[in-house]
Amino acid sequence: MTAHDHLTNGWDRNQMAARAARELRDGYYVNLGIGIPTLVANNVPAGMTVTLQSENGMLGIGPFPYADEVDPDLINAGKQTISQLPQTSYFSSADSFAMIRGGHIDLAVLGGMEVSEKGDLANWMVPGKMIKGMGGAMDLVAGVKRIIVVMEHVSKNGDPKFIPECTLPLTGKNVVDMIITDLAVFERPDHNSPFKLVEMAPGVSAEEVRSKTSAQYVE
C-alpha cells in the first residue's frame, strides 16, 4: 500500500499515526491513548529514543510479548499484555499521575469525539449511552505539556468533529494543541491562539477541509 492509493481518501489510520509520530523528538516521554494513538509507537523514527508511559504505573513500554512470555502482572493502560525494556521502571498509580499532572510528560496523543475551535476536547461520554468513565483522560489533558488529538475528520453520519463548541460533555477545556484527522492537520502555538490549518493529506484540498469543518480556523 502506498500513499498514492489514498490520494482521494486522505490518510488511513496508520498514516494518521505516522503523521503524529512526526511530532516526536529525541528524548521525549510520551503517553499514547487507545486506538490510533497506540499505532504511533510503530512509527517512531529510527535512531530516536522515545520513552512511552503507561498511566497504570510504567515508564518504558515494550512491544507485545511473545506468547510464552505473557505476564498477567504486566499490562498497559488498555489492559493489554505488554513487555518491559532494559530501561523500564514501575511505580504506583499515585506516582504515575504525579508525573502526568506535574507536567513531566512531553506529549500525549489521544483519540477524540469532538474538538472545539477553542481547544476543548470531548472524548469520554455520549449522553444516553452507558457511561464507562473517563479513566485517565482528564488527567492527561490537564497535565501533559502538549496534547495531540487524532480523530476522523467527520463522524459516521458525515458531521464535522472539529466544531465551534463541543456538544458532548468535556474531557478538558482549552487543552488541545494539535488536531490530526484523516484529511488535515491543525495546530496552534499556544492556548490563546486560534488553530491554523498547517497541512493536508495528499489529494485533499483546502476547500474540502473547509466544507467538512464547522470550527473557525486560520488557513
Binding site: 498511566e55 510479548p65 502482572d73 499484555t81 514501575y90 511505580f91 498509580s93 502526568i100 482528564m138
Partner: protein, 236 residues
C-alpha cells in the same frame, strides 16, 4: 512480636467488616486485585458498601463478584467498562457511581493516607467533574478542590511481604495498591509469598510495615488477563 500473619483472608478480615462501611481497594482492571479478600468479603455477606477502586472488576471477577451479590451501594471509580451486571444495576438506578478521574482518584487515596483532607488540581476544570466543587485560582490558573479519601478498610494485593509486614509489588500490579493501602484506617494485605524478616532489601520496600496491619498468603494464584496481546517471533 505482635502477629500480623493470618491463615486465610476470612480470619484476616475478622472483626473489621460492617454494613455501610467504606473500602479502598487496590488493582487496575484484573491486575493486582485482592481476590482472596474480595471472596472473603463476599462470603461475609456485609452490605451497603462504598468502594473506592479504579475499576469495578468484570462479570464475576474481582469486585464484579460483590456487585453480583448486591453488596455494593456505591462505587468511586474512573472506569467501569467490561461489566454487564454493573451496567444493569447502574442503569436501573440500583447502584450509585461517582466517576472520578484516574489520577484524581489515586491522589485522593494518597492524600487521605497522608493526612491531607483536600488538594487542588487542574484535572476536570470546566467539566462535569468540577460541578459542585470549589474553584480557586493560583497564579492565574483555575484549579478545583478534591477531597482525600480515608476508608474504614483498605484491601490490597502484594507480591511478597516479610513477617513484619514490609511489602513489595511486582511490575504493573503495584498500581492502586500502594495508595489504597495508605488510605485505610486499617489495611489488610494478601500476598503471594511471606518471607522471613531480612529477606527484602530495605531500600526497595514499596509499602513499609506500618501500613500492613494484617497479612495473609493467598497462593497459589491463577491470575486472569483481560486482553492477551502477543507478537509473533520473527523466523530466523
Amino acid at each position: 512480636m505482635a502477629k500480623k500473619i493470618y491463615p486465610d483472608a476470612a480470619s484476616a478480615l475478622e472483626g473489621l467488616l460492617f454494613d455501610g462501611m467504606t473500602i479502598s481497594a487496590g488493582g487496575f482492571g484484573l491486575c493486582g486485585i485482592p481476590e482472596r479478600l474480595i471472596d472473603a468479603i463476599q462470603a461475609s455477606g456485609v452490605k451497603n458498601l462504598t468502594i473506592a477502586s479504579n475499576n469495578a472488576g468484570i462479570d464475576n471477577e474481582g469486585l464484579g463478584k460483590l456487585l453480583r451479590t448486591r453488596q455494593v451501594k456505591k462505587m468511586i471509580s474512573s472506569y467501569v467498562g467490561e461489566n454487564k451486571e454493573f451496567e444493569r444495576q447502574y442503569l436501573a438506578g440500583e447502584l450509585e457511581v461517582e466517576f472520578c478521574p484516574q489520577g484524581t482518584l489515586a491522589e485522593r487515596m494518597r492524600a487521605g493516607g497522608a493526612g491531607i483532607p483536600g488538594f487542588y488540581t487542574k484535572t476536570g476544570v470546566g467539566t462535569q467533574v468540577a460541578e459542585g466543587k470549589e474553584v480557586k485560582s493560583f497564579d492565574g490558573e483555575d484549579y478545583i478542590l478534591e477531597r482525600g479519601i480515608r476508608a474504614d478498610l483498605a484491601i490490597i494485593k502484594g507480591w511478597k511481604a516479610d513477617e513484619s509486614g514490609n511489602l513489595i509489588f511486582r511490575k504493573t500490579a503495584r498500581n492502586f495498591n500502594q495508595p489504597a493501602a495508605t488510605s485505610g484506617k486499617i489495611c489488610v494485605a494478601e500476598v503471594e509469598e511471606i518471607v522471613p524478616v531480612g529477606s527484602l532489601d530495605p531500600d526497595c520496600i514499596h509499602l513499609p510495615s506500618i501500613y500492613v496491619k494484617r497479612l495473609t498468603c493467598g497462593a497459589p494464584y491463577d491470575k486472569k488477563i483481560e486482553f492477551v496481546t502477543t507478537r509473533e517471533r520473527e523466523s530466523a
